[in-house]
Symmetry: C2
């Protein structure tokens, strides 16, 4: 079997250069990478990464625990995390909890045991106790589970304030908030707190609706939307805590011939691609999805390097006005 020295000779580069390419360390020119990879191929050299990871005590794998990668927000977040992790030479093990606590627990045991270098957790299940006893670097997204574990979120409170200000300014009087279940201890709850604070300071009336605790069921969003229009036809402004909930509102409004934005104004949250695709295009609170993903990866890498990290990272949001307000 070929050795690293054989590859160096074949590629016409130093043994150190080959080692750097194999370990993806330091600055690597494309030319160098190509030379070494070509020599490896010609010599049928297959470095055993599992053996290497044992020796180096690192796997260069980050585990990502999310509720559902097919949800537009989590799909875009996963892409952001994967893309940035790749640029930092980390791979991504995707763990979809599907909001099933047993599945999540099983994944977590597996991640704890398999020497992934770090875990990014954006799960929505209730019990976070399990996460407090993880040896690896951990970062949570939109969830604060202890005073020690770094988390990244967008400025949910400010997002709620911006949405309320816009609806009030547009003349809405009967204003609804529709969001995820507040029993889930997510930072997304602050969207409601910021929204409520502004509405309470106005002369508007606030109506509160929440989804089932086992969320992410689009059919449930449609039923919720239908119920709101049926029970509170006076509502003329709606802030939904995700673009996909807002989409269900728009669909139901169209079915009932309620004009948007004439009869009822609607604001979503996230600014996923969906918000630009639906009709009418949705006014929404934009989360910096790319920055959230990159910051989470950076916080993992800093912990791996034993650097000090800040526990709280709250990134700014902005209101993006389209045609529903």
């Amino acid at each position: 079997m070929a050795t690293i020295k054989d590859i160096a000779i074949k590629a016409g580069v130093s043994v150190t250069s080959v080692s750097r390419v194999l370990n993806r360390r330091g600055y690597l020119s494309e030319e160098l990478i190509n030379k070494v990879h070509q020599a490896m191929e010609e010599l049928h050299y297959q470095p055993n990464e599992v053996a290497r990871s044992l020796q180096k005590k690192e796997s260069r794998i980050i585990g990502l625990i999310l509720p559902d990668v097919s949800h537009p927000f989590f799909g875009e977040l996963t892409r952001a995390i994967e893309s940035y992790a790749f640029s930092r030479n980390y791979k991504l093990l995707l763990c979809n909890s599907q909001l099933d606590p047993l599945k999540e627990k099983d994944y977590l045991s597996m991640l704890k045991a398999s020497q992934v270098d770090g875990i990014i957790m954006g799960s929505h299940t209730i019990d976070t106790e399990e996460y407090l006893h993880i040896a690896q670097p951990l970062v949570t997204i939109d969830r604060r589970i202890s005073s020690r574990i770094p988390y990244v979120s967008s400025d949910n409170f400010e997002g709620g304030v911006l949405a309320a200000e816009k609806l009030i300014k547009k003349g809405c009087k009967q204003i609804a908030y529709i969001g995820g279940n507040v029993e889930l201890d997510l930072l997304a709850k602050k969207r409601y707190e910021g929204f409520k604070k502004e509405i309470d300071h106005s002369k508007c009336k606030l109506h509160f609706f929440q989804t089932n605790i086992n969320g992410f069921n689009y059919e449930e969003y449609e039923e919720l939307a239908a119920g709101i229009f049926r029970e509170c036809p006076e509502i003329d402004g709606i802030f939904a805590s995700s673009d996909i909930i807002a989409a269900a509102i728009l669909k139901e409004a169209r079915r009932l011939n309620r004009g948007v934005p004439q009869d009822v104004k609607v604001i979503g949250y996230d600014n996923v691609q969906l918000s630009r695709i639906i009709s009418p295009p949705l006014t929404t609170i934009g989360q910096p999805i790319k920055e959230i993903g990159e910051k989470a990866v950076d916080l993992i890498i800093s912990q791996i390097r034993k650097e000090r990290v800040t526990v709280e990272t709250v990134l700014p949001v902005q209101l993006i006005e389209r045609e529903t307000t």
Copy 2:
């Protein structure tokens, strides 16, 4: 450090049972799993999965190479693959090529070297040469890259036929096909072939449009849609090769006050959740996304077990009529 025997005694079960839980083999009751996990936690036992995988020469990881997990079809496909792989005790390493051949090549080298147990490839880049020299089990999705490598697809040809039949039956005369670039050697091209065959047998005129080869740019879909309505205002029926392209058509039709389905009828492809959310809800060709994902995983596992596998798996599609036809 605790041994498996210590755990067995602590949990009050046999050593074999502990081993089965650790290796996730055979029928495992929830009670047994809980007992063993509790004993492991109490004894601070951390099985080293990397060491185990070396010993057993398996990683129980499947690598998944896709163009873009945030594209609705690939997001739902990834969820289907992850969910089924998990039920078969495999984990998923997510590799997003982002249609970048260099990134894909780098991922592939890594997967070849890292002893993943198998690779599922749904990539859209042009060069598939690299995939012909992989030692691990390989399955491709919607792509036939050799006569030896198993692939899974939906019945793209039949999908095209069904779409054409519907548009003809609804009285369309000037019919457009809008799809991915045909230079990409994807089986999705057969959607056009089936569609063209039916249109050619009718008295309708066929207009053909294709996206840029570096696809998945929603803004590009909108420009394409605008160009079609501008240059061929006579078009009264459109078959788009993905729901997301169809969504761009609907958005442009709305902007131009072209009634759907009165003035122009639209059919998509995929039946992702988006097709139910947009207004009006989209008539589309439904791909069996869950079955495609499950079949791909089964074909990997069968190859791992050295079982014979069929090279071609073509799963049935169906037309789902909503409000755009």
